[in-house]
Each structure stands twice: as structure tokens, then as C-alpha cells.
Amino acid sequence: MAGMPIVNRVEAARFPAFPVGGAAGASLKPEHLAAIHADPAPVGFFEIHAENYMGAGGPPHAALAAIRERWPVSLHGVCMSIGGPQPLDKDHLKRFKSLVDRYEPALVSEHLAWSTHETTYFNDLLPLPYTPATLDRVAEHIEEMQEAIGRPILLENPSTYVVFKESMLAETEFLRALVRRTGCGLLLDVNNVFVSATNHGYSALEYLADFPLEHVGEIHLAGHAEQEDDEGALLLIDSHDGPVTDAVWKLYEIVIGRRGPIPTLVEWDSDIPGWPVLKAEAQAAQEILDRHAVSQIRGAAHG
């Protein structure tokens, strides 16, 4: 894996600096490319999983460049393993930086999770205990990544299925401390909030009330699936394989009502529907964003 070719250093912006504020976007899926380019008004931005574009060349880069010519792109890392105890992969940092340089993304994000241990990559977002020791380690990793790519990242709250007996800090407290220490922003995944709250038996509203919304630079919405835990209680799975549920839309509306418009992505990664279905989900988010943008302007004018 060492020696992945690094793309040419960029001297000047090669792509337009499209604004992403107040926009709703969608996951970019190769099967939608033709429909997107044929659509006169698709969505506000597209988000890609960084690792899918870490090859040297070929169709992925050609497709992404054609998208980036016309729309803003959000670069979402899935496997930096920021939440793991071991040092970050230096080659992976270099590859990530080369993508940031090459595509000038409007947003850059990663997860509060880990996926690599020793040399094995597990391809899942694994959970971590929230302790002073892990806080120190994760903060170091975020600083290292931000240093490497030359800009702050947004860190996403995870969906989890288990808790660690040794955890001592609330997730919101952990995230707030990371923001304070590293200057990173947050990516609030509302579906993850709902999934974790259900799985661990706490109130999603209380979690959101304690979430530092002022640091949120992007929101994720997605569908989840239902299973049962060891005692037959409802266990939600962050499956990204269906439409956003009503409960998640309600929580989203509350967040936007409180904070005003925030760039919002609808994720769909499995059982991917036709483009019109995914677009309709993004449009539903856009309507909520627009409604609150208007009420914010009115509020400002009247206040």
C-alpha cells in the first residue's frame, strides 16, 4: 500500500468554489451518474466516501471530476480509524490529503470510530469507550489529521450497539471536549442519534439538547433497520438501506428549528434506489432547510 501515487500539487483552484450553506445533498453513487448529469436541478451537493477515490486513476476520478466541475462535493472519510488506540496510517493520511488538494471539497469529515487494529482492516465503524485516556488519544489523532490535510474536519457522532463498561463520559461531553481541544467541527448524524438512543434506552431529545449544535457544520440523515437485542428489545441498525424514518425527520426539524439551516446530506449506501427516490429524500430535507431559512430572515427582519 505504500507508494500510492500522489496527485500533482495544486497551485490554484481548479474547480469553482460553490457554496454549500443551507443546501441538501445526496450520497454520490456510480449507478446514478447518468441520471444526475441529465437532471437540470439535481441536489445542492454530493458526498463521496474518500476511500472509493483513492485509486491512482480510471473511471472513479473521471466521474468525480465531472461532478466537481458542476457541484460542490463533500469528502467523507470512513476508515481513518481516528477512534482507535494505534497511530494513524501515514500513507492513508497522504492519500486523504491528495484528495483534498485535488477536489477542493466544501466539507471534510470523519467518524468517531475505528476500523483498523494492528494490520487488519475490519470495514466497520467500531465503538470506543469514552474515557480520559481515549479522549487524549482521539484528540491527538484529530489534530494529526487536521495538520496533515491543512484544514479542520467535522467529526461524526456514531451509531452504537454496545456500551463499554469503562466509559466515564457521556458521548456529548466527549465530543464537546474534542471540539474544544482540537478546533474541529461536528457532523451531526441525526439517524445515529436516534439509533443509539433507542439502542441504549436514552432520550434522543435530551441527547440533542446536550449536543453542541453551534459547532455542527453538516447533518447526516439516513434510513435504519430493526432487529432485536438479547432480551428481545428493539435494536436499530444503522443500515443506510432505506428512506429516512418519520422519527428522524422530526428530530431533524427540531435541530434545524433551533440552529437554522445547516448543509444536510441524505445517505443511502445499500439497496440503492433509482435517482428520483434518493433525490426526493434530499428535496424533503431541502424543504425543511428552506422553510427555516425564510423564518430566520423574517425573524431577523421583525426582531
Binding site: G57, G58, D124, A133, V162, H200, G201, E228, E231
Partner: protein, 271 residues
């Protein structure tokens, strides 16, 4: 207040062993779920932990299915997934780039006793792995068809070539190219009309990946050129390999396929 709690706790705990404790059962169903986790209020977490087991195993099997669609089509989904599950547990990825995963899969298939009835299966998997390498390889302009026209005929034998980043030769004792092609198209799989060994050349001159069958001696010829041997030497080695080797047809074929990006003539020669 929170800061005080944090600084008090810091003195008590190291707490970075969680990854070492969490990972061993992920790919080994024989290992019990780790003791450091629980459900809410100390509830049992076996099924909860199994969500991670399932995510890891299924997503990696899916990654192999994405990379090896013809292999899956030949053996059927159920067989493929059972075979892939064993491989995933034995050889999980060592890189977060999933399009790099599966380099050991063809060798694994070759040694997989339940696949012995399909001796060509490993070569089809090899072809598929090379196909994906070509797909993600660096972009480069291939040599033009008339690239050799400017080289004086008496110097052609000394010409050396730079391989295109996407170009690969795959050799098989079976009709692997034909079987690969039959199982990578969308329509129904046609009849296999050959049992002859086939060597393949995989290239990606622009954005589309091409797989073609090489004529007799062609694989040895291209492998020599890709290793930097001069054209004259490559022709001699190919003729030794197979007396039917046709230099002119093979040179035209490799240029048409886009297997090389540059040609050079040593000893004061020019391009």
C-alpha cells in the same frame, strides 16, 4: 466540574486496550464476545456484539462479490458466499482500500477442496482481480498505432517499451478468457466452445477496461517487453515458446490494445 472529574479519572485509568479486546471475536465465531462491553444497564450484549461480527463479515464478503462477479456467477451465490466467508476469516484485508482486497483469493480458490471440480475457477478469479487493478490504474496515453514507423527497421530489434500502468498479462491452462467474458456480460451465459488454454491481455487505454485473448506466444512476448527486454529478444523468446508466434500481428495487437506508453531505441537511437 466536568474538568475536575476528568482530571481525577485520568489518574486512575490507562484504558487503551479496548481494540485488542474487541477485535479477536469479530472474525472468529469460536471466540466469545469481549467482556468489556454490555447493553444498557449492564444487559447482556451477545446479539448486540453480533451486529459488529455480522457487519464485518458480510461487508467483506460483499467486497469480494463486487470484485469477483464472474467467479460468483460460475459457482452460484450461495457457494460463493460460503467460500468467501472462509477466505475473509482466514485473510481479512490489510488495507482500508477495499478495491485492493482479494489478492490472495485466486490462490485460496486453487487450494479450496470444494472447488476442485472447477479447475479453471482460480484463473477466472485472477482475471477479475487484474481487471480491477486495470480499472483503478493510473491514467496514461498509450502509444499511437504508428509509433514504430519512425524507427529505422534495422534498429527495431533494440527498441524497448514502457508498459502502460493498466496493462497486465494473465496466463491460463484453461480457456479462462472466454469463461471470464461469458460470465461478465449481462445476458445469459453462452456455451463454452473451447477447451484450449488461453492467455489474456488486460488493458485500459482510456476509461474502459479491455480483456483480449493473446495469440500463440503472445503472453511470453508481452511479458518480456514489460520486463524491459528489447523487441528482438522478446520475439526470439516468443518463437522459442511457440513456433506459431507471428511478430507483426502481435506488435500490431499490442499497439491496438494500448499495452505500452513509450518506446525507446538505445545506442544513440531516437524515438
Amino acid at each position: 466540574m466536568a474538568e475536575l472529574v476528568v482530571s481525577m479519572a485520568k489518574r486512575r485509568l490507562g484504558g487503551l486496550a479496548y481494540a485488542a479486546a474487541f477485535t479477536p471475536p469479530l472474525l472468529d465465531p469460536e471466540v466469545e464476545e469481549p467482556g468489556l462491553i454490555a447493553g444498557p444497564n449492564g444487559k447482556a450484549a451477545k446479539k448486540r456484539y453480533n451486529v459488529y461480527r455480522n457487519n464485518v463479515t458480510v461487508s467483506l464478503i460483499n467486497a469480494l462479490a463486487d470484485t469477483f462477479p464472474a467467479t460468483q456467477r460460475i459457482v452460484g451465490e450461495e457457494f460463493f458466499r460460503a467460500m468467501a466467508r472462509i477466505h475473509v476469516r482466514q485473510s481479512p484485508p490489510a488495507s482500508p482500500l477495499l478495491f485492493e482486497y482479494g489478492r490472495g483469493f485466486a490462490d485460496f480458490i486453487e487450494g479450496f477442496e470444494h472447488a476442485r471440480a472447477l479447475p479453471y475457477l482460480a484463473d477466472v478469479a485472477r482475471m477479475e482481480r487484474v481487471w480491477l487493478d486495470a480499472y483503478h490504474a493510473a491514467d496514461a496515453a498509450p502509444l499511437k498505432p504508428d509509433a514504430l514507423a519512425s524507427i529505422p527497421p534495422e534498429r527495431l530489434g533494440q527498441a524497448t517499451f514502457a508498459a502502460h500502468p493498466a496493462a497486465r498479462v494473465v496466463r491460463s491452462r484453461f480457456p479462462a478468457v472466454t469463461i471470464f467474458a461469458l460470465n461478465r456480460q449481462d445476458g445469459p451465459v453462452g456455451r463454452l466452445e473451447t477447451a484450449e488454454p488461453e492467455d489474456g491481455l488486460v488493458t485500459r487505454p482510456q476509461l474502459e477496461v479491455f480483456v483480449r485473448r493473446l495469440p500463440p506466444g503472445g503472453a511470453v512476448f508481452l511479458e518480456s517487453l514489460m520486463a524491459g527486454k528489447p523487441l528482438g529478444k522478446a520475439v526470439a523468446v516468443a518463437l522459442e515458446d511457440d513456433e506459431r508466434f507471428d511478430p507483426a500481428a502481435n506488435i500490431a495487437g499490442m499497439l491496438e490494445a494500448g499495452a505500452f506508453t513509450a518506446v525507446a531505441v538505445s545506442e544513440g537511437g531516437r524515438r
